[in-house]
Amino acid sequence: MSEVDIEKILSYGEKFADEVEVFILDYTDLSLEQREMAVSSVFEHVGQSIYVRVVKDNHIGVSGTSDPSRWKDCLEVAISSAKLSEPVTGWTGFPEKSVLPNGQDPFDAKITVTPALAAEYLERMNAGASAHPEARVVTAEVSLLTGVSTVANSNGVHYTRKMSDISLGMDAISDNSTGYDSDSSPFLERINPEKIGEQTSFWATASRNGVNVETKKYDVVLSEHAVESLIFGLFSDTVNGKNVLTGKSVYVGHLSEEVMNPSVSISDVPMDKEGSAWKRFDTEGTLTSDVDIVKNGVLSSFLYDAKTASQAKTISTGNAHRSGNGATYIAPHCMRISAPVSDVLEKPCMYVREVIGAHTANPLTGEFSVEVANAFFAESGRFVQPVKKAMISGNVFDILRGDVCISAETKTFDNAVVPKMRISGMQVIG
């Protein structure tokens, strides 16, 4: 891996631009894939990416490459790109140097990129799966990653973040019933491989012999997975500052208005103890802080990066992430929802573990109709009968305006900590 002289790039770039920013990602990862209950392949990857952004007369240009030795080419492309882009109205500049607040990076020294660690977790996942022997484990994977990201700019910002990650996934089948579970975390102790294995084989076996469903309205409980993919995914797009600026959000013009049930609040908590992100600064070097997006049902804030914040005449909320070409995109770091908590599975309901096709929901209107997977009729906290096949349909925004009820228990995803959610009178098509 070549050493990149960041100061050299910044000072060279300043000859041609008003501001220069360099973002570098160094990483090593390793993954073990399993088939037939044994390791079928081992993949090691060592990589480095460098992204350069420049600003000249409020025009922003960007370029990226996987070859750090070509940083000069990258800089030249970014400068050419800036000439073509429209000037950013109200551009206030890349972030200035600040004192970073105390806090830990999402890094765990116990995660070492070694086959031995990956093999241990694969074995433990398999041990968990054996709890339901009628399920056949089809494939499983363990991935380990460590790396460092660095953001530096000509305003004096130069921050580094150490990263680690362990990701596990497994799928199983029993007759024609499938099960899948996965988890990932920057911290080894938060991963429970036996539970992932047990849950995978449980969903495959428990979902067999499902019953047909009558088309009508049911009380439905969405699992943490279903809430994350269907509700949080669409809501994140709606409060994305870029979508708001370009008129691609139903929340345009509704700031300070009630958009949800007053019992519901949604916030982004970058350093949430239960979260996986732990970002003290975003990928532009803006310091992060908690953002109340919806407070007591009232829309309080959108999420911004430096560019969209300038255009909206506000300040960045520190929600810049970095895409493959080096441009920033906006996303939450760790979204949380608060709403009345209850035992959501106590009263009779249809429980939906997974939905197929969550990405086909209408991002503007919130309308969705998706297929369910691993669904059950449940009551008194127990699964009574698996559902053979059904679709659920509704509107994400209507759900959040209604009587939302969530579980106390949560699951941590990459950018959210998510509870189960109970929804009254949802249309189910059998």
């Binding site: 090691e44 060592v46 089809v138 493959g324 197929i356 086909t360 309308e367 297929e371 679709m391």
Partner: protein, 443 residues
């Protein structure tokens, strides 16, 4: 030295140039570039992979070192694998490197994109955007037996989208064209207006009441059915692993005699590949022939595992720097002999679903779901009210048996397919009539 039974190297050198416009201004424009070498070694008991980026393919010592790294990884594997000995074929030599397009100034393309986007600015449209991208990838494939192949492929696409707004109601539409080779934006200037008009029409569309009913699928959504429901379930890895409802069905009837479904990497569609990620140049493969399961798509490994009589290799594809997976390329339902009017009349009362907003499948369970951009009610054999937010789900085998008419004209649509990795594909079909489908809607 580690025991090496086989190795290959796939090096991809690529450049992607893109332009994004929003509401009449250039949001960003620029390029990124990369070079990634993927080393794959088959040891005694499985595979070892190593990816190096950047990498110099002329550096023999570095090559040897990377092969050894992959070989060390392969030693840790414990599932014996074989690769079928197949003819490599002749790499397709369709010239699609689009040198003239690459040489044209970015400013010129940006101007054309703005012009295209501007045509979407019609009354009730509150937001427009457009994106243009050209991607050049030069591939070098080498294996331990001295075989090598090279290709140079350009893929170009544009997307234009429009948001319509009336009171508190908002609706969105997008139009896209994606091709292998060059694409002249000036030929597509009217697409902006076409896109916007549909978004405005959607403001007046109704939600549909879901349930089981007859349905007509237009070529775009029927193509997604061919891809999602049949294609994924015909991939050799799903067959090998026993997680496809189409597994073990070669020679058996799986659908109506009208159904013939083909995957063809040699077709000049968005999924075109001169040769696959294992160096094999494949041609058209009939997955289902007249309703009978005919062949599965394979990599060399899955062909060896499942049996050479079950299909053909040449269907392994990979993102740069990642391992080959069994994937589709250009997948379609073959034309029938029914006219559009005959199909609508035969349906009598049901829905016509048009365009695709994507879909997903669980091949093990045989369940699929996909969403239409919009549609129309069919009442008394005629299309009537426009409908929106309508989706289709079902189980693969039932739907294949429910196809009773296929239209005369096939159209292909382009997009990306995600299966752990994202690769360009196209899919298509003629209009298709299903006697019963599960239709989801918000009413």
């Amino acid at each position: 030295m580690e025991k090496i039974r086989y190795y290959d190297i796939r090096y991809v050198n690529g450049t992607t140039t893109s332009i994004q416009t929003e509401n009449g201004v250039i949001e960003n424009a620029g390029s990124s570039f990369f070079g990634k070498a993927f080393f794959r070694v088959l040891g005694e008991n499985g595979w070892g992979y190593y990816c190096a980026s950047p990498f110099d393919m002329d550096n023999k010592k570095a090559k040897e070192a990377c092969i050894q790294k992959a070989a060390v990884s392969a030693r840790l594997a414990g599932v014996h694998a074989e690769i079928a000995d197949v003819p490599f074929g002749t790499p397709r030599s369709w010239i699609c490197s689009a040198k003239e397009q690459a040489a044209a100034p970015l400013e010129e393309k940006a101007g054309q994109l703005l012009q295209l986007e501007a045509t979407a600015k019609i009354p009730e449209i509150c937001s427009t955007s457009a994106r243009y991208s050209e991607q050049y990838q030069d591939v070098i494939f080498e294996d331990c037996n001295g075989y090598s192949a090279k290709s140079s492929v350009c893929r170009t696409l544009f997307t234009v989208s429009a948001v319509a707004n009336r009171g508190s109601d908002m609706q969105m539409n997008y139009e896209q064209e994606a091709v292998v080779g060059p694409l002249s934006l000036t030929d597509y200037i009217p697409y902006g207006e076409k896109c916007a008009k549909r978004a405005v029409e959607l403001l007046d569309a109704s939600a549909v009441s879901g349930g089981r009913m007859p349905a007509v699928l237009d070529p775009a959504i029927a193509g997604v059915f061919a891809h999602e429901a049949v294609g994924h379930a015909s991939e050799g890895d799903a067959i090998r692993d026993g997680v496809s409802v189409l597994g073990g069905k070669i020679g058996q009837r799986v659908g109506s005699p009208l159904v013939t479904i083909i995957d063809d990497p040699s077709m000049h569609g968005y999924g075109y590949e001169p040769f696959d990620a294992e160096g094999v140049a494949a041609g058209p493969l009939e997955l289902i022939r007249h309703g009978i399961m005919n062949k599965y798509m394979h990599s060399r490994e899955t062909l060896a595992a499942v049996g050479s009589e079950t299909g053909e290799a040449g269907h392994a594809r990979a993102e740069p720097g990642l391992p080959p997976l069994v994937r589709m390329s250009n997948t379609y339902i073959k034309e029938g002999d029914a006219s559009y009017d005959e199909i609508i009349a035969e349906c009598r009362n049901g829905v016509l679903l048009i365009g695709s907003r994507g879909g997903q499948v669980d091949p093990g369970r045989g369940a699929f779901q996909f969403n239409a951009k919009y549609g129309y009610l069919i009442e008394n054999g005629e299309t009537t009210k426009m409908i929106r937010d309508v989706s289709l789900s079902g189980d693969i085998l039932s739907v294949l048996h429910n196809i009773t008419l296929c239209g005369k004209e096939r159209k292909m649509s382009s997009g990306m397919c995600g299966k752990g990795q994202s690769v360009p594909v196209s899919d298509g079909a003629p209009h298709v009539y299903l006697t019963e489908a599960i239709v989801g809607g918000g009413q």
